[in-house]
């Protein structure tokens, strides 16, 4: 399979099920052997904050899902640099590459498929 896939997550982890479901779609794409990239943008960068727990909130704990990315072969994870600054996210629960607006443009246009979620 040569087609490449990018998932963009722009919703925060605990206020809806959107980011959790977006990660599910991404993991399925990765299981199809599609080269898969993940980008956190806007409030989506809040998924990256370490030591969040969804206990009692009827949501998935983001770090558990994010920890599965490597198992599924998702190595390329990006975060929008200006969103990280705006939301004050400095520590991340998994390794991410910082992308400025030029890199974002290149990243998105290089993909065969883009799945946006919010």
């Amino acid at each position: 399979m040569t087609a490449s896939c990018l998932s963009i997550i722009s919703s925060p982890p605990l206020s809806s099920a959107n980011s959790a479901e977006a990660l599910e779609l991404l993991l399925v794409a990765a299981a199809f052997d599609v080269p898969t990239t993940l980008l956190f943008s806007g409030a989506g960068v809040l998924n990256l904050i370490p030591e969040q727990s969804a206990d009692g909130l009827a949501r998935k704990t983001p770090s558990k899902q994010l920890g599965a990315l490597k198992l599924y072969g998702v190595e390329s994870v990006y975060a929008c640099k200006s969103s990280m600054q705006r939301y004050g996210v400095t520590d991340t629960v998994i390794d991410v590459l910082m992308a400025d607006s030029e890199m974002l443009k290149t990243l998105i246009s290089a993909q065969d498929m883009v799945f946006s979620h919010r």
Binding site: E21, F32, M113
Partner: protein, 129 residues
Amino acid sequence: MARFAIAVHGGPYESQAPISALRFATTAMSAGHEIARVFFYHDGVLNALMRETLQDEANPTSLWQKFASDTGVELTVCIAAALKRGIFDEREAKRYGTQISMADGFVLAGVGQMVDAAITSDRTITFLP
């Protein structure tokens, strides 16, 4: 002529996403383009709920049903997103000992169907809430 995969991520009463998707799909097909599949995800799966038509109100589910019967395009509903939102077809209703709540004309399937449609299409278009 191009082939499109369409994802609908918004529910019928919270967003404009489904009606925009429907209008896009209808227009694209009348211009000779092909729609690989319409895939309902997130709260978009709520478009597939059985519902009553109230006086003077459009019924979003019927609009999709008409589109599917006019065009033969498959309306695929993500099974995981659907089950947790209370949408069951005959088979799942039997499995979980509950009642059918999904309207005719929609099909439950795994999210892999979205990936498959996207891989085999020229463009993937997502309609967000």
